[in-house]
Amino acid sequence: MSDAKGLTRQQMCDRLAMEFEDGWIVNLGIGIPTLCSNFDFGDKEIIFHAENGVIGYGPLTGPGKEDLHLVNAGGQHVTLRPGAAIVHHADSFGLIRSGRIDVTVLGAYEVAANGDFANWKMAGQKGGGIGGAMDLAACARHVFIAMEQTTRNGSPRLVERCAIPVTARGVVNLVITNCGLFEITREGMALKEIAPGVTVDEIKATTGCALRVPREIPPVRLRA
């Protein structure tokens, strides 16, 4: 798919960020999801939690202004918002497991129509990188995924069943790709909104599972 159409990574994350509700505690995974914190939430109060125990962090710091004692889950230097608090790792994951995270946004290699997803180990790889993803995916109230529609060689990432080892089963609610917004329902994968310049046929051709498509498909909302 050409660069001229589809969503940028920031637009993908903006669309997911529109779903965050006032007062939500939000955990962003490494990679594309970190861009969700750039969204202008207006009057909504959103509390960003990082797995290393930072509750209430703000934007990234500029070069030369880093506090060397303060990073987010991706090891990036961030600022603290007024009202922030810091706990150790066991308390940080205690609040994850006890269901206090309203949404976690994670990257993925594959998302299946039954809500399974895989993001810690590629096919044939020995070991992998789990980080906090398994704890977050099992326990957050909502799991959103931000990823490209296909792999670099064009294989679908939206699939019937995950072919690689899963991170958690039956947990994904919403997926944004460069091509559109998808919802996982009891009946499987549904296309909710379509990216500018992308056709339904193109999406069907790059999706590896049955896809419910409404007769009228709205464009992806780009601003709240």
């Binding site: 490494i30 990082a50 797995e51 290393n52 125990g53 930072v54 070069p63 030369g64 880093e66 506090d67 060397l68 004692h69 303060l70 990073v71 991706g74 090891g75 230097h77 603290l80 810091i86 706990v87 150790h88 790792h89 066991a90 940080s92 994951f93 205690g94 994850i96 497991r97 180990k121 790889q125 020995k126 070991g127 992998g128 990188g129 789990i130 980080g131 906090g132 993803a133 398994m134 704890d135 099992a138 326990c139 080892p165 899963v166 991170t167 958690a168 089963r169």
Partner: protein, 255 residues
Amino acid sequence: MSKSKIFASFADAVRDIPDGSVIGFGGFAVVGMPINLYGALAEQGARGLTCVSNGTRGGATLPSDGPDMGPLITNGQVKKVICSFTAPTRASQKLVFSEYYEKGLIDAELVPQGTLAERMRAAGAGIPAFYTPAAVGTELAEGRETRRFQGREYLLEYALPLDYAFIRAYQADDAGNLRFRRSQRNFNPLMAMAARITIVEVEEPILPRGAIDPDDVHLPGIYVHRLIKIPPAPEGWWPQRPAEVARQEAARSPR
């Protein structure tokens, strides 16, 4: 008065670490990582170690020749690593540990991060095992004990006691009471509570007892056995700003 907890050098503080020890290394990214103790242990040479750490590399705020777990691995000192990442988080990164692990030269136990933290919390809290929802239904749970509580499936995990914890703190008094700064706390207090002996590299000058108000202590000194004040750079290792690290690396690389 009991024996002083203050050690004069990192070498003194790690001199008696025996082969085969299970050692927890605190830190998340480079924040709170015991960089100087890593260096001292690489020089000390203990072998057959089981190393527990979230990851094995400090990240962008430690120069590529800065001491992390890498030198222990290339020295052949490490038998096994217990961690939440055996692979780097970015495809562009290279981990010494990943190479050794993929070649089968080092054993590894990959653990979800919250489970890793809780296993050490449990060891420090006299709890032998616990059930967690993390990793249920994944490859990690295959062949292991699960149990349903209130309709939900949980995975049995065991406490992870340590022989030694190597950690870094912001402030200490000479009783060993510690304070951490910002995200420096991470795994550090948990590892100390799970360990028989805790060795701390301290950033600020070590304070007389009483200088830290009891209400402000993050980790009580009863968990802390050895303190070393980190000397100024270049003798002591400190994290640096990413831009400074990039400048130094560029200046060193052949053109």
